[in-house]
Amino acid sequence: MSKKLTRREFLKRSAILGTGVAGAAILNACAPAPTPVPPPAPTTAPAAPTTVPAAPTTAPAVPTAVPPTAPPTAVSKKGGTLRYAYNGDPPTLDVQWTTTNVTAWVGLHMFETLFTYDDKYGPIPDLAESYQVSSDGLKYTVKLRKGILFHNGKEMTSDDVDASLRRWGKLSGPGKTLFGLLDSLTSPDKYTLEFKLKSVYPLFETALAITGGQDSVIYPAEVIKEAGDGEIKQFIGTGPYKFQEWQKDRFLRLTRFDKYVPHGDKPIGYGGKKEAFLDEIRYIAVPDQSTRAAGILSGDYDYVDEAARDQYDQLKSNPKVKVSLDQTWRLAEDIFNLKSPVMADQKLRQAMLACVNCEEVLKASQGNKDFYRLSPSLMLEETRWATKAGGESYNQNNLDKAKQLLKESKYSGQTLRWMTTKEFAGFYEEALAASQQMAQAGIKIDLQVMDWATVVKRRANADDWDIFTSGWGIFVDPMLSPQFLGTYAGWWQTERAEALRKKLLGTADFKDRFPIWEDLQRLWYEEVPCINPGNTRGYRVMNAKLNDAGQLTVMTRAMWNAWFSK
């Protein structure tokens, strides 16, 4: 099934696909200087929240990354066409229209957002130049950069931003949330926007930053008008690359936008100065992972973002290519349908949790040890939300306990329907291994392997399934994850969960929110709405002559600032 859509990447849906957490080392421990949450206190501190000192402090402890200090002559780095082999063409290039990751990965070369992230997940302005927050946290005044040009030569003004944000607010989940809290949005002048909120919203900048799926990118106002209720018909943005040509199933070409106006004088995480050294980025759809690997070995491609795990060792030792493990991990998960009568039984779910031998499951899913790690934390360890709370219940691998819990439960031998797919690497193997472990305790499981379109369809209907396999990319905030929000399929909407969520959403300060999150994670391990075997990751292979490509730790698909050595 060739699944042309890069669904495989939906994982990286990371509201933060964009955010890199450079040397995971930094970690939360040392509270990062820039504030991800606007402090309600300071009034007119114009530049304060925006300046990002990140660059000098840390040479990211990323093994392969070179801090993007621009070498002297920009001229010598220019040139070349990057042939990027990916899993499949995006369903559309209208970034606001779909949550699919590929659309964002390709689209973020052409379109930009008001905010983005530095390499520690702190939001920084991108198309915005600066912003101020009122002391009560209810008014945001955003100043746009001046002189930013769209690909058609027109200058970006607040009209374009206003039209784009309003459309995004209608089309996307986080957008709806934001606009739901909005009292008014006005443009006092052509470079300023004023947002008046009804209540404090700690996720303001985050929502307007890049997330890796359905981002609030800025289009020209006339393009939005032309689109009406449907998708945009022209791809015009402000990014360093512009749309050139798309021959479906053959290639998608982006070429350098010569009139790109840089945001600053050096790269900062995902923002700052984005330079287009490459003349062209050419995306080629190659659905099969071993074909991609074969292609890069034969010199047909320059960058492959997902190659077969088992070819890693071979590729590592080949001098023509460079490999690099993704710095970004993903959370593997098997989600229970709490609306299903049999799964509503908490003791049964706890029994299933007890059966799982996480290492075996992860090994089945990924093979090589480099590609998985055990981790009880529901928020990836690279974020500052990582915690081991409730972790005693992680990786129990205890069949006796499981059988005991099973006896105490109301389970009477029903067959549970487990949906999984082969379209995303590792899902099927993970489900197979886990379901066999549970079968040993006496739990009957019918593993149904189907294509992703069918999974998505059936998942929406609570009568159709009991468990399904999924995975998540990195989130900067637990309340950005639809899953922890409870609205995602699975419907973890118990009273205690809802109460904790409300508290978490209503509190502004990270140091107050963190303990609430820990409680939520503990509750998660107690109520077991899902099972998380652990974290997985992939790796990238690239032409040995390619530099600085995908070095942004989580935004491994950002090709700006990448260049070929001669």
């Binding site: 699944k3 369903p91 699919t100 799926g213 099969d288 074969a294 369809k457």
Partner: protein
């Protein structure tokens, strides 16, 4: 004769109707829909509904069917949901790779198979015969997609001689185009070459023992002349049959080959469209394949009439 052809062409209509309706029904009744795929995984049900409405998929099925049928009759196959272009255009763009692949495979098949069969027949039971037939047998038995994978391993990965995947248009660069099609055409054509070889051989054997051949030989005609003037034309009939069948088989065998070699052809588009539930494309392609199939059969049958006068009598 012309009447017959006309009548055969008319039968296209009921075939198309049945095929069209069946595909429509099958596609729409299959769970999963393009709106959900388009919306992406983290989309909420409302977002999916919005897209479904924008695509017109929330209308009742009979309405969708009649709308589609109405357009088809006017020659409009609709627009692809994911590729954002008319289905007809998408098909036409992909005809080149698939068509070239099929032709090249057929070319390999004929080029290798027919002479092999003739030689094997002429030197019956010699080692050449056994060797040729042995290889033919192997060719028929090896699954073409497996052969394709093995070829990629050998020629692309280890030897770096040929590309592992991709395609360049004939008009852009004929030499490169050939390079990309070489392995796929070979893996696809080999099985048919083997088949042709066997058929050619057995037909030749039959013919070589016919009276009229012996008569020709006894008249003093050289072996080769006999072969060319008398034997070979009679072999054409069964060979044509196989070519006709092969074309159809090649068109569908092209699907796995296109998947293995990542060729942007119709077969791969079908697989992708099925996975994404791109209904207009699925329906359009099936209709076109049906038309092609019937036409190819018709062409072969007409060729028969010209090649073998005995067929005109309706019996051998």
């Amino acid at each position: 004769m012309v009447n017959q052809i006309a009548r055969r062409l008319l039968t296209l209509i009921p075939v198309l109707v049945v095929v069209g309706i069946t595909t429509f029904v099958l596609g729409h009744l299959t769970p999963g829909d393009p709106a959900a795929v388009m919306a992406g995984d983290s989309a909420t049900p409302e977002q999916v509904e919005r897209i479904r409405h924008a695509l017109g998929l929330d209308l009742p099925l009979p309405v969708q069917l009649t709308t589609w049928a109405g357009r088809v009759v006017q020659g409009n196959l609709g627009d692809s949901i994911f590729m954002k272009e008319p289905v007809g255009q998408a098909i036409l763009q992909r005809v080149e790779p698939t068509g070239l692949l099929t032709l090249l495979s057929l070319f390999f098949a004929i080029l290798i198979g027919v002479p092999a069969g003739i030689i094997a027949a002429v030197r019956r039971n010699s080692w050449i015969d056994r060797l040729a037939m042995g290889i033919s047998l192997a060719g028929v038995c090896i699954p073409s997609f497996w052969l394709g994978i093995l070829l990629i391993l050998l020629f692309a990965v280890f030897l770096h001689l040929l590309p592992a995947a991709g395609y360049v248009s004939l008009s852009e660069d004929p030499a490169a185009c050939l390079r990309y099609l070489l392995m796929p055409a070979f893996s696809l054509g080999l099985a048919h070459a083997a088949f042709l070889a066997r058929i050619t051989r057995s037909s030749m054997l039959e013919v070589l023992h016919e009276d009229y051949v012996r008569t020709a030989r006894s008249k003093g005609l050289g072996k080769t002349a006999v072969l060319i003037r008398h034997a070979f034309p009679n072999v054409l009939v069964p060979v044509l049959t196989v070519i006709g069948n092969s074309t159809a088989a090649l068109l569908s065998g092209a699907v796995t080959t296109e998947v293995v070699f990542t060729l942007p052809g119709i077969g791969r588009m079908m697989i992708q469209s099925i996975a994404r539930r791109d209904y207009p494309v699925i329906q359009g392609v099936v209709l076109c394949v049906a038309v092609v199939y019937v036409l190819v059969n018709l062409a072969v049958d007409i060729a028969y009439v010209f090649v073998d006068p005995r067929i005109r009598q309706g019996e051998r």
